[in-house]
């Protein structure tokens, strides 16, 4: 039973570029949340997708956008990359929103140079 799968595992981008990160939820899960973990910090909530719609959003600018597909997988897009966007991006899946059974992926390490 595969857990949460994220790709790629590592990525290096230049300032101003755009990036797309991908997440496949755990089997049986239908809700995907994205978190950003900067160095030395705890994960910070970016947004949550359920039924292909953004249901909740944290304090992140519009440069951060997402999408959920009919098969429940999700993408996180970041436009106009800044050096400060360098972080570990974590995807967490669950069954239904507000469910406490979150499973996290191993993350995508994004470095902006």
């Amino acid at each position: 039973d595969a857990g949460v799968t994220q790709s790629p595992t590592h990525l290096i981008k230049t300032r101003g570029q755009q990036v797309t990160l991908r997440c496949s939820p755990k089997s049986g899960h239908d809700t995907v949340s994205w978190y950003q973990q900067a160095l030395g910090q705890g994960p910070q909530f970016i947004f949550q997708y359920y039924e292909e719609e953004e249901r909740q959003r944290g304090n992140f600018p519009d440069r951060f956008s997402g999408h959920q597909f009919p098969n429940y997988s999700s993408e996180l897009n970041v436009n106009a990359l800044l050096l400060g966007d360098s972080a570990l991006y974590l995807c967490a899946s669950s069954y239904r929103t507000g469910n406490y059974g979150y499973t996290f992926g191993s993350g995508t390490r994004l470095t902006v140079v």
Partner: protein, 112 residues
């Protein structure tokens, strides 16, 4: 403005002894708390949780205590083992749809 605070960035404990990790929160509306454990190059894994209607929850070597009046919770690990060495995050469940609000984490090192 951090709503969940873990004020000790690191903790070192001898194998077999008790590890106590602390967490404070500011929002009295939080009613569910979780502890996650994170190894390098892995995502956080759920360890134990507690609802605000309880003051203690136990699972094997792990016990979480909640003091609502002090807005404080702690995770006790007894006995500590070298495999427990990891970063431990305290999190509160916030928002109507259940997003997690994390502390900065405490790095636990258990020495053999």
């Amino acid at each position: 403005d951090q709503q969940v605070k873990q004020n000790s960035p690191s903790l070192s404990v001898q194998e077999g002894r008790i590890s106590i990790l602390n967490c404070d929160y500011t929002n009295s509306m939080f009613d569910y708390f979780l502890w996650y454990k994170k190894y390098p190059a892995e995502g956080p894994t759920f360890l134990i949780s507690i609802s605000s209607i309880k003051d203690k929850n136990e699972d094997g070597r792990f016990t979480v205590f909640l003091n609502k009046s002090a807005k404080h919770l702690s995770l006790h690990i007894v006995p500590s083992q070298p495999g427990d060495s990891a970063v431990y995050f305290c999190a509160a469940l916030g928002g109507s749809q259940g997003n997690l609000i994390f502390g900065k984490g405490t790095k636990l090192s258990v020495k053999p």
